[in-house]
């Protein structure tokens, strides 16, 4: 994984904060990050994603590999894990999804149960999905850190942006060097690269 990632170009944009909602669909569908894995979900959130404890507390529902999580200490994040984060949810079913909530039995057949509390520590890839209010809170940090994308997916995303997106784009940086937004828009800047590490500073 590292070999592939290291060969990827790193594209960075500096954008107005008003452009954050443009990334909401990406956050909901999930973005992949490179991270240290083989640790508990709690450690992953606090140390790897550097989320403050009070912010972790606001993430009332978490899902690992499509299963609701109850115990952050007894849940391991591995290479290839899919982690989804959500704020408080309405409705009975919303309440059943809360971590360790009173209604957890309602979804006990799909709850996350860790089979092995130990797994190899190292670098890996984790797909992160952000939902609802969490998108605004954690989205900018995730974008700033950089996400691993197929170039075609990034170009699809960029080609769908209206002109105001580009007007609010203050810098385009490729591998640390200022670059031309026009070449990014017309696809020539990233041609020949199948994957890219994309970051945005808002």
């Amino acid at each position: 994984m590292n070999d592939i990632a290291d060969k990827c170009p790193q594209l960075g944009l500096v954008l107005s904060g008003a452009m954050l909602p443009r990334f909401f669909l990406l956050f909901q569908q999930g973005v992949t990050i490179r991270a240290r894995v083989g640790c508990s979900l709690k450690a992953f959130l606090l140390e790897e994603l550097a989320i403050r404890q009070d912010a972790v507390d606001k993430i009332q529902s978490m899902f690992l590999d499509g299963r609701p999580v109850d115990d952050l200490d007894a849940t391991m994040v591995r290479d290839g894990s899919v982690l989804a984060l959500s704020a408080a949810l309405p409705g009975l079913v919303g309440a059943t999804m809360r971590r360790g909530g009173r209604y957890a039995s309602f979804r006990q057949t799909i709850s996350y149960h860790e089979e092995k509390l130990q797994c190899a520590a190292g670098n890996g890839r984790v797909r992160i999905k952000l939902f609802n209010l969490i998108m605004r809170e954690l989205g900018p940090g995730l974008l700033h850190r950089g996400v691993f994308m197929r170039t075609s997916d990034l170009m699809n995303f960029l080609s769908g942006q209206a002109e105001d997106f580009w007007q609010e784009c203050r810098e385009v940086i490729l591998d640390g060097m200022p670059s031309d937004a026009g070449r990014l828009k017309d696809g020539t800047l990233l041609s020949g690269h199948q994957k890219v590490i994309f970051s945005a500073t808002l």
Binding site: G66, A84, L89, G91, R107, T109, K129, F131
Partner: protein, 578 residues
């Protein structure tokens, strides 16, 4: 709210209205009142569209007051869809206005002698009923525009669209919102068909000249209401999540956990979910000049609704709810938010339950009438219903009827009513409620998550599987009680987490009526309502065999988690043991 208005639609010379005292129903409101009247006065074996059935429309206990969130209205009858008792409720303005006019309920009874269509106008001076055949087959939006032209814009309307006139089992009853649009529906169970069978097209309410209902202890009521509002505003669901994204915030979550019924309940994930999520919906609404945060009635502080504009920035419909977006979206394989909004508008306009119609179209797609994902075909099918074509008559009678007509085995119904947007194999506790609710498959029947406050049934270890049955029972009791207060069910989130907010609600009720109601009293009310409803259904011929999910939910594994519904029948039969 000290009188009941009874309208005998079969009287000589046309419908006759009589106002009488609440009598033995004094102290009842909302669902408690509708179910009490139906249970006592309607023969359970009667035909739902016949003379013996009654349609009861009742505001909640605190409707018409300055109390926050008090604007739900209950509609009850024998359901033409389920054959059992039905209570469907809606937001909008009518509950507040009807309560301020002093009526605890309107009861439509009897059978019309001819085929004239009537409108009912109620204001401070009384009741006027007139035949108006120019209203025949008018969709709800056109109808309300006509009423506005005739009676002014200070009115609130309760109406049926063409589906109700055609007595379709998926027909809803529309209530107008603050903008005088027919966007709030008592949707479930075919209540619109019963109103249609009574020959009443619209009830127009005008409370001009009436005052807010006065509490017995105004100061205590005001103070309790303030605490209640503070509790709602500080809670993360009612103060943040719901106002920002509405109920459709659940799409991503249900999809993530594989509990989002897709392609007529065939699988639990839909690839297009993010395109129709509450988050995407809110951004779309804001970008186009609509509203992502809006109330459905005056006095709402949660503001979970909104307005949805089309691509040109023109009003299309109110913000579709999660269940609507699911029913017409993932369940039909449709990821076009504009198309789903159009379907929501059409359902409202023709007067149809969005859950029943979405589930029906899912079955129709499985039958081959259209391809999954074809939004234009789905729109065409709803128009068939609105026009009353032969195909439309089948579809308009709901999911079970359509499945039978086209030989589809997979009809996701309980007691003839379509399941809502949560697959019972993934979230099995909800399946317990679907199976056992007297209403048929209904996600709101066990919605009020207030068990820890009410302590109904004692303390339950909810983390154990066997806790599901006890929890479902307790949730149904709490919901029945809240439905009777006329409070929006969404208050339950704040009540769940904040006992002081629940206490504030009790204090409001006590200050208003001069009562000393406790949590136990609320529990007793919920049990009483459920007992009346269960008794009606038993007398209508329902047995434990109707308290079951369709068998295929036990037999067929549901992806991605490959789960089946495995709550035992004997456990389902324990839900109402109290």
């Amino acid at each position: 709210m000290d009188k009941i208005l009874r309208i005998d639609v079969g009287a000589e010379g046309g419908p006759k209205a009589t106002a009488g005292a609440m009598g033995e129903y004094a102290g009842f409101a909302g669902r408690a009142l509708t179910s009490a009247i139906v249970s006592k006065e309607v023969p359970p074996l009667c035909h739902a569209l016949g003379a013996e059935n009654k349609l009861v429309i009742a505001p909640g206990m605190l409707s018409g007051t300055t109390g926050a969130m008090s604007g739900r209205i209950s509609v009850g009858c024998k359901s033409p869809l389920t054959g059992g008792i039905k209570e469907a409720n809606a937001g909008g303005q009518p509950s507040q206005v009807l309560a301020r006019l002093g009526y605890g309920a309107i009861v439509l009874e009897g059978k019309p002698k001819g085929d004239d269509l009537y409108k009912v106008f109620i204001n401070k001076d009384g009741v006027r009923i007139a035949a108006d055949n120019s209203l025949k087959m008018l969709p709800n939006y056109d109808l309300v525009a006509k009423m506005k032209a005739e009676y002014g814009d200070k009115i609130a309307c309760i109406s049926i669209g063409p589906a109700g006139e055609m007595k379709m089992s998926a027909a809803s009853i529309a209530c107008t919102d603050m903008e005088l649009r027919p966007t709030r529906h008592a949707g479930r169970g075919g209540v619109g068909a019963v109103m249609g069978s009574k020959g009443i097209k619209v009830i127009v309410l005008d409370d001009t000249g009436m005052q807010m209902r006065a509490p017995k202890d105004p100061e205590k009521f005001k103070e309790a209401n303030k605490r209640f509002i503070e509790g709602l505003k500080k809670h993360p669901v009612t103060g943040q999540g719901l106002p920002a994204y509405g109920t459709n915030v659940l799409t991503n979550i249900l999809n993530e956990v594989g509990g989002y019924p897709t392609y007529n309940f065939r699988q639990g994930r839909f690839d297009g979910a993010a395109k129709i999520s509450g988050e995407t919906q809110a951004e779309t609404e804001t970008k186009r000049g609509g509203l992502a945060t809006h109330g459905c009635h005056r006095g709402c502080v949660i503001q979970c609704s909104g307005t949805y504009h089309d691509k040109d920035g023109h009003y299309l419909t109110k913000q579709p709810e999660y269940e609507t977006v699911w029913a017409h979206g993932g369940n039909c394989g449709i990821s076009d938010l504009d198309g789903i909004a159009m379907l929501d508008f059409l359902d409202d306009n023709y007067g149809l339950d969005t859950i029943e119609m979405g589930a029906t179209i899912g079955v129709a797609m499985e039958a081959g009438l259209a391809k999954f994902g074809d939004v234009e075909a789905a729109i065409k099918l709803v128009h068939e219903v609105g026009k009353g074509t032969h195909l439309g008559r089948i579809l308009g009678n709901g999911t079970a009827f359509t499945a039978k007509a086209f030989g589809v085995e997979h009809a996701p119904v309980v007691k003839g009513q379509a399941m809502p947007a949560y697959d019972p194999r993934a979230v099995q506790g909800v399946g317990v409620t679907y199976a056992t609710s007297p209403m048929g498959a209904d996600h709101t029947a066990g919605y009020a998550v207030a068990q820890n406050v009410l302590k109904v049934g004692g303390d339950v270890n909810a983390l154990k599987p066997e806790g599901q049955v006890e929890l479902s029972r307790n949730l149904q009791i709490a919901t029945a009680a809240i439905d009777s207060t006329g409070m929006c069910l969404f208050i339950a989130f704040a009540v769940l987490d904040q006992p002081e907010t629940f206490q504030a609600l009790l204090d409001m009720l006590n200050a208003f009526y001069g009562l000393s109601l406790t949590g136990d009293g609320v529990t007793d009310l919920g049990k009483k309502v459920l007992s009346m409803e269960r008794d009606f259904n038993a007398r209508a011929g329902f047995t434990a065999q109707q308290d079951r999910l369709p068998r295929y939910f036990k037999m067929e594994k549901f992806a991605p988690h490959n789960v089946t519904f495995d709550v035992k029948d004997e456990d389902l039969d324990k839900v109402f043991n109290w």
